[in-house]
Symmetry: C2
Subunit: 199 residues, 2 copies
């Protein structure tokens, strides 16, 4: 890539890429997954359509990257969970951060819009799980395996089920707006999960 | 009511009422909550609009009754959970039945459509919780209280949280189609919940 020899151009490219991802999330919130178009994303981001097609082969691809950007650090390496050796405090840190994000309208609105599409479109649900949810779940399961090795979780615990018990109550409460999303709730879900799957 | 003196008329009324509720659920599956109209429900059920307005004051009211009919016996008294004295086998019976229902396309389709509306409409979410979810949850909590008195659940367990841990993983798995809905899964959720909230 010629950008390696041209830092100013690389910065402009990264700035355009971020503008496109931000515009994509905003438009999905406003008009929904089916209605959003590459033309509209380009117009909102202030770039040409060809700039988008240079980096992404399809609308679906840019949409997934726009959501992936929410769960990864800017360098794309940020999915690993903290590992201080104490699974309880590490999970509480992560769950409190998750609860804070889902209580933030700017963060949760596009994810709510994406969920609306996913629940009515089995193909999109499959794509979502393969490209987005599974890599994040694998990072979480790596931390849970470390807890199993440390004797803090049952060695025969089904780690997919551990993640369901930890996250699904928060998911349902957020999606149905059926209760407060607080740090206390985050802690409580961790305590319950560790009790259910403790050694 | 004159129906008390006229059994044939009472049967015709009940048959019309059921036709209206069935038509309502079918139309919500097909066109969504916002688009469905009293006119369309009447046409599908083969009754006049005035028949619907005789029993229900609004579109929202007939929609809620159409979903309430799924969770209650025909006499409207069917919400109580079984109580054999063994919370584990009673909950497994209920959760296996729930999993079977949600694995049935004819049952789950209108509920998926209702969820789509609920997650994007906070007022509808509030109505749903007050009129539909809360009465069902209270019936479930009555069974859990009986288990607390029998020493099978911790006396200080937060029963709303018990229900979230028991049902939310199934809700998420169903909504996202992220895993199989089986009797084994139902049993597993009961085992985990009882371990998490055991005495």
């Amino acid at each position: 890539m010629s950008n390696a020899q041209n830092p100013a151009r690389a910065r402009r490219s990264e700035s355009s890429r971020q503008a496109i991802l931000t515009a994509t999330r905003a438009l999905i919130s406003e008009v929904g997954y089916k209605t959003v178009s590459i033309e509209a994303i380009a117009a909102r981001a202030g770039v040409g359509k060809q700039t988008i097609y240079r980096w992404w082969p399809s609308k679906g691809a840019v949409i997934f990257d726009s959501f992936l950007a929410l769960s990864a650090d800017v360098d794309g390496q940020g999915m690993a969970l903290p590992d201080t050796g104490d699974i309880e405090s590490d999970l509480k840190l992560v769950m409190r951060a998750t609860v804070t994000e889902f209580a933030d309208p700017d963060f949760e609105r596009p994810i709510r819009a994406l969920n609306t599409e996913i629940i009515n479109d089995p193909d999109l649900a499959t794509q979502f799980h393969e490209k987005l949810a599974r890599p994040v779940d694998e990072a979480k399961k790596a931390r849970l395996r470390s807890a199993q090795q440390a004797g803090q979780l049952a060695t025969d615990a089904d780690l997919d089920l551990v993640l369901e018990v930890l996250y699904a109550p928060l998911f349902q409460r957020w999606l149905h707006r059926s209760g407060p999303l607080t740090a206390e709730y985050a802690d409580c879900l961790v305590d319950i999960t560790l009790r259910a799957f403790g050694p």
